[in-house]
C-alpha cells in the first residue's frame, strides 16, 4: 500500500473524528459483553483520547511494529486503561473489545473514502485490521497483568492483616500467629514485629504459635530467625502457645530451642513479660474466690 494512502487514512480519521467517535461509542454500548463497570461518559472520553493518539501514531507511518516508539503513547494509554478497568471490575473480553470494536467504524470509513471492494481499500482494511489486532492483544495482556498485580497486592494485604502486632502493655508487644509459617509469612511477621518494637519502644515480644498447626524444621528455622532478629533489636522474645503435640514433635525432630524462652500458654508469657519489664499483677484480695 502506498504511503499516501496510509497518510490519507490518518487525515481522514482526523477530519471525521466526531463521526468515528459516535459510531465507535455506539458499537461499544451495543457490545453484548459490556458490563456496567465503565460509565458511558468515561467510555466516550477514553475513546476520544485514543482516536487522537491513534491518528497521530499512524500519521508517522509505522503500521507493522506496535512495539516501536511511535506507538508508545498508544501503549501507555491502553495499559492505563486496562489497569483502571481491572480495578473497576470489567471483564477481560470487554476490555479487549474496546479496541476490536473500532474495526467496524474504521473500515466503514475506509470503504467510504477509497471505495468499497477495490484493491486499495481491501489492502488498507487488512493492514489496519492487523494493527488493531495487535493493539487489542496488547490491551488484553495488560489487563491480565493488572489483574495479577491486584491479586498479588490483595494476597499481601491478607498476609499483613492475618499477622497483626498487638501492643499488650507498655514495653510488651505480641504476635498471634495463625496458619502455616512459610517464608513469605515469616518475612512479613518479622518486618511488622521489628517495626512495632521500635515504634512502641518495647523490651519484650511474644510470638504465640497456638494457631500454627504443625512445626517442622522449616517452621522452626523461621521462628528461630525471628527470635534472633528481635534480640538484635535489643528486645527479649518469648514463644508461647506450644501445645503438647508440638512440644513432642519438636523434641523428636531434634530441634534445639534451649536458647529460646518458651511457655505453654500465652497468659504465662504475658506474666513473664510483665515481670521482665518491672510490672507485677496483684489480685485484689476482696475479689478472690
Amino acid at each position: 500500500m502506498a504511503n499516501d494512502t496510509m497518510t490519507s487514512v490518518a487525515t481522514l480519521m482526523r477530519d471525521s473524528q466526531k463521526e468515528i467517535l459516535a459510531d465507535w461509542v455506539d458499537q461499544q454500548l451495543k457490545d453484548p459483553a459490556r458490563t456496567q463497570a465503565v460509565p458511558e461518559s468515561s467510555l466516550r472520553a477514553s475513546s476520544n483520547e485514543f482516536l487522537s493518539i491513534f491518528q497521530e501514531a499512524i500519521q508517522k507511518g509505522n503500521l507493522d511494529n506496535m512495539a516501536a516508539p511511535e506507538w508508545e503513547g498508544a501503549r501507555k494509554m491502553l495499559s492505563e486503561l486496562s489497569a483502571s478497568r481491572a480495578l473497576q471490575g470489567s471483564t477481560p473480553s470487554e476490555t479487549a473489545s474496546f479496541i476490536f470494536s473500532l474495526k467496524e467504524p474504521l473500515f466503514a470509513l475506509i470503504n467510504k473514502q477509497l471505495g468499497a471492494g477495490n484493491i486499495a481499500s481491501s489492502e488498507a482494511i487488512v493492514r489496519y485490521s492487523k494493527v488493531l489486532d495487535q493493539l487489542g492483544l496488547y490491551t488484553f495482556e495488560s489487563f491480565q497483568k493488572s489483574r495479577e498485580a491486584v491479586i498479588r497486592r490483595q494476597q499481601k494485604d491478607m498476609l499483613e492483616m492475618s499477622t497483626p502486632v498487638i501492643k499488650l502493655w507498655e514495653g510488651v508487644v505480641a504476635v498471634p500467629l495463625i496458619g502455616t509459617l512459610d517464608s513469605a509469612r515469616t518475612q512479613i511477621v518479622m518486618e511488622n514485629l521489628l517495626q512495632a518494637i521500635v515504634d512502641t519502644n518495647s523490651k519484650v515480644a511474644i510470638l504465640d504459635i497456638t494457631g500454627v498447626p504443625t512445626v517442622d524444621t522449616q517452621t522452626a528455622q523461621h521462628l528461630i530467625k525471628t527470635v534472633s532478629a528481635t534480640r538484635l533489636m535489643g528486645a527479649d522474645c518469648i514463644v508461647s502457645g506450644i501445645r503438647p503435640q508440638i512440644a513432642q514433635t519438636i523434641v523428636h525432630l531434634g530441634i534445639d530451642i534451649q536458647d529460646i524462652t518458651t511457655k505453654a500458654l500465652m497468659s504465662d508469657a504475658i506474666r513473664e513479660a510483665m515481670e521482665r519489664t518491672g510490672w507485677s499483677v496483684i489480685r485484689n484480695t476482696s475479689q478472690e474466690s
Binding site: T180, D182, P213, T214, V215, D216, T217, Q218, A220, Q221, P244, Q245, I246, Q248, T249, H252, L253, G254, I255
Partner: protein, 137 residues
C-alpha cells in the same frame, strides 16, 4: 499386609507440600490416631515432601492405608528422580545438610514414625517410605 486404599499427590511447588500435609491429615484422622501421633505423622510427611522438592527437584507422595489384621496404619512414600543420596548414613546424621536447612529432616522423620526405609531409585532419585501403626480398636 494389605493396602486398603491409596492416593498420590504430585510435589512440584511449596503449595503442593501443604496439599500433602492436608491429605495426610485427613487420612490419619480417619484412622483415629491420637492428636500427638497425628501431628508426628503430618510433620514427618512435611519434612520428606520438602526434601523431595528441595533436594530431589520434585516428585510424588503416596499415601496408603495399610492393614495387618491386629493393627492398621498409614504408609507414606516419597519418590523423586533427582540426583539421589550418595551416602545414606551421612544423610541420616543429625545436622548434616547440603543446603541451608537444619539437617534434621530425615533423622527426625525416622524418630517420629515406627518404620523408616530409604532406597535409591534406579536409574536415579530417592525413595523414602515411613509407616506408623495403630492397634485395631
Amino acid at each position: 499386609m494389605v493396602v486398603k486404599s491409596q492416593e498420590s499427590r504430585a510435589i512440584k511447588n511449596e503449595d503442593d507440600i501443604a496439599v500433602v500435609r492436608s491429605s495426610v491429615k485427613r487420612v490419619v484422622a480417619l484412622l483415629n490416631f491420637s492428636l500427638v501421633n497425628q501431628t508426628k505423622i503430618i510433620t514427618a510427611a512435611s519434612e520428606l515432601a520438602r526434601n523431595v522438592l528441595e533436594h530431589g527437584g520434585g516428585g510424588e507422595a503416596r499415601i496408603e492405608l495399610v492393614d495387618e489384621g491386629d493393627r492398621v496404619g498409614v504408609r507414606l512414600s516419597f519418590e523423586d528422580l533427582g540426583k539421589g543420596i550418595p551416602d545414606f548414613d551421612k544423610a541420616m546424621e543429625d545436622g548434616y545438610t547440603t543446603g541451608k536447612g537444619m539437617g534434621l529432616g530425615l533423622g527426625g522423620a525416622k524418630r517420629l514414625m515406627d518404620e523408616f526405609s530409604i532406597t535409591s531409585n534406579s536409574p536415579s532419585g530417592t525413595k523414602v517410605s515411613i509407616t506408623k501403626w495403630q492397634e485395631r480398636i
